[in-house]
Symmetry: C2
Subunit: 425 residues, 2 copies
């Protein structure tokens, strides 16, 4: 039985709205105590399955890698470097162990207690040592919205946008895992009518909802990856919040692109949902017109039907409120095109590199992926249910993103990505 | 006696034009065979001093770090993280050992043969694991030249340039050490009069002469580095060649900056010249008008009087020919301003991060730091001594950069940074 089969059931109880049924089995790095040793885990329902315990008990078939491989892994990088066969074999082995009709784990209370830890009790860490982080700009709606605000509707989309999957290099060191608070940055800004810039706390702090993927096996410097081979290099996906200081960005970004406006923090969700787990949720993408150059041409459906939501909770609210709902299928450039473009000049991608989509905005105003667009550059502040308004983020605001693919009776989900704004120093 | 004292002499013979007298003592990573174990070395004259051998013999005083510290270092990162006191102590200890009147190493043939290896026989490697690479744009002459070519003389310099030390994130994975050949990249380009882009080998391949520095001790995310403390975080300097595909860059760079035009390769020289070794060569920088904001204000002289040269050798030439001579003192934004600006928003810098200056161009056409400027966007091709001309680089061309500070009777130098263009795949 295929690990994605909708009919699969686990002996672990998983309600239909859970993000982590047996059809998902995302990988992450956890520790049992905040400072404790880091281990590779797989999420199932309300539990983390500790792969190091399974490895010690020799419960893996061990075809693609040694049976004790996971006993010594503190991040996913080495696993990522092994390639798709190894990823599939391990996910399949975990799936077998967790099935409702598999006795090895199900019927051993001692083994279950050792190998399965409540998710609520563990600390999650960055899933990989991220060597390089690249952020694309793959939503036509987002690029158009930003273009309209900056240049007006007649020249909204740059001439290169429909030909080139535009991207820039982000900062790897400031990528943090969900739950990490984010300090409001200081920086240079200049008001339109001011003669000189000032230095102080950003006043236009924003989020950007993105989907990112971790590179699995990489390529050598100078050796491009043909797009037909791109899927072999894509391990799995996380939610990405590319925090942005719009006022700093506006003043600094010409001519070399965003820098301090973005590199103070980028948050990612801890569970990596494999490309394999998303196989049933691949759908046709946006029509690409003009047709991309041959190096970007790949038959098949490569958009991902991931429902995405953004929630905001201010300090005065008892709970969070949804402020946007969109879908990753709206992206114009797909992940294979992103990866093949990135390596097309010979740039070497490495296991654990993060490639993010850029802000995902849908066609309607309630499906935009940034506050910049939702409040249209501050001109249409959002009114929240308690009467508060927001044009940009205030101190104490918590932004939570979530996403899932809806299967028949189950969800293959990403869990949550959350972060709260701390006041500037 | 101070390790920078011009009167210092070593028992190792060092001719006056050598880049590696006892006043320099740059750090690097070498191996005795191409695939052999990597060790920390210090360059002295025609030799590499193997610090792991000195560590095993307990020849370091071992105040700031354990006597056997260098026995187990395969890159400089851990050393960099220790901070300035440790760097100074080790450089001072090495200086003491190499003095003409110090017997320990001088009078032991066995120890010399074990610890000192001819530089010509070793393989040099990247000095550090570079987590993040940032490229600035700190030469006013370069920014002005590029601006004139793109936008004409009236709006050459962007309005932000005199206020913001402009920078962008580069690609860390494709940084290679001197001597590595560079494959001509493929990419999208679009001629001015073409209706659509094409994909193929770059035809406008260029070099950029830069000076970069490795971050020593870093800062925590969210905690800026005040500019007064910036020097404590700067370990040392290397030459940087930021290879660039101008035709790819022109088509892709709006609005998020250069990406594939730059990330196919960046070359650096292997020996890291410490900030301490450059102390006598700090000079007044360019006058900064308008005065920078307070977070960028630092008294003292922080420009570096490094003489820089670019040499070209085509496949038809028996030797190389100098095509540009410039000086790092022409840079407008200094290294302390670069570092303080980078961390001003709380971005966390880490040991081994590379911050590069951007192309260093002087005021005269023979002092420009890129082919783009030297041949003025292809309109004034360079004529070489053998009659060949160059507007951009051709396959087989070798670019060699070098740089040094001239002291009284000695040079504190960087050695060479060289790379050759291989044809596109």
């Amino acid at each position: 039985m295929n690990a994605n089969d909708p009919a699969l059931r686990s002996f672990v109880p998983v309600p239909p709205e859970s993000h982590f049924p047996i059809q998902n089995l995302p990988f992450g790095i956890f520790s049992r105590t905040p400072q404790g040793p880091r281990r590779v885990g797989v999420a199932i329902g309300e539990f983390v399955l500790d792969l190091s315990v399974l490895a010690e008990k020799k419960l893996f078939p061990g075809q693609a890698l040694s049976a004790d491989f996971f006993a010594r892994q503190e991040n996913l990088n080495e696993f990522l470097s092994l390639g798709r066969n190894a990823w599939r074999e391990i996910r399949s082995a975990v799936s077998q162990l967790l099935r409702h009709d598999a006795a090895a784990l199900r019927d051993s209370i001692a083994l279950r207690e050792e190998a399965m830890i409540p998710r609520a009790s563990v600390t999650m860490h960055l899933p990989a040592r991220i060597g390089d982080y690249t952020d694309f700009y793959s939503s036509k709606e987002h690029a158009t919205n930003v273009g309209i605000m900056l240049r007006g509707p007649d020249h909204a989309l740059m001439p290169n946008w429909l030909h080139v999957p535009i991207a820039y290099h982000g900062r790897a060191s400031s990528i943090v895992v969900s739950g990490t608070d984010v300090r409001r940055p200081l920086g240079q800004t200049k008001a339109e009518d001011a003669v000189a810039p000032v230095f102080g706390p950003s006043r236009n702090l924003d989020f950007e909802l993105e989907l990112g993927f971790l590179v699995g096996s990489g390529n050598s410097l100078g050796a491009p990856i043909p797009i037909a081979e791109a899927p072999e290099h894509i391990f799995g996906f996380v939610l990405v919040n590319d925090w942005s200081a719009r006022d700093i960005q506006k003043w600094e970004y010409q001519p070399l692109g965003p820098f301090l406006a973005k590199n103070f923090a980028t948050s990612i969700s801890p569970w990596v949902v494999t490309l394999d787990a998303l196989e049933l949720f691949r759908v046709a993408g946006q029509k690409q017109e003009p047709e991309p150059l041959p190096y970007l041409h790949l038959p098949g459906d490569w958009a991902l039907a991931v429902q995405l939501e953004i929630h905001l909770q201010t300090e005065m609210m008892p709970g969070r409120q949804r402020i946007s709902a969109t879908n990753a299928r709206f992206l114009y450039w797909n992940v294979c095109q992103q990866l093949a473009h990135h390596a097309s000049n010979g740039c070497n991608l490495q296991p654990g590199d993060l490639l993010a989509s850029g802000t995902i905005s849908g066609p309607t105003p309630d499906s935009y992926g940034s506050m910049l667009e939702l409040a249209w550059k501050g001109t249409k502040p959002i009114t929240l249910a308690n009467g508060e308004t927001r044009a940009f983020l205030q101190d104490g605001d918590r932004v939570t993103m979530t996403g899932w693919c809806q299967g028949p009776g189950y969800r293959v989900g990403f869990g949550e990505l959350t972060g709260r704004i701390l006041p500037a120093l």
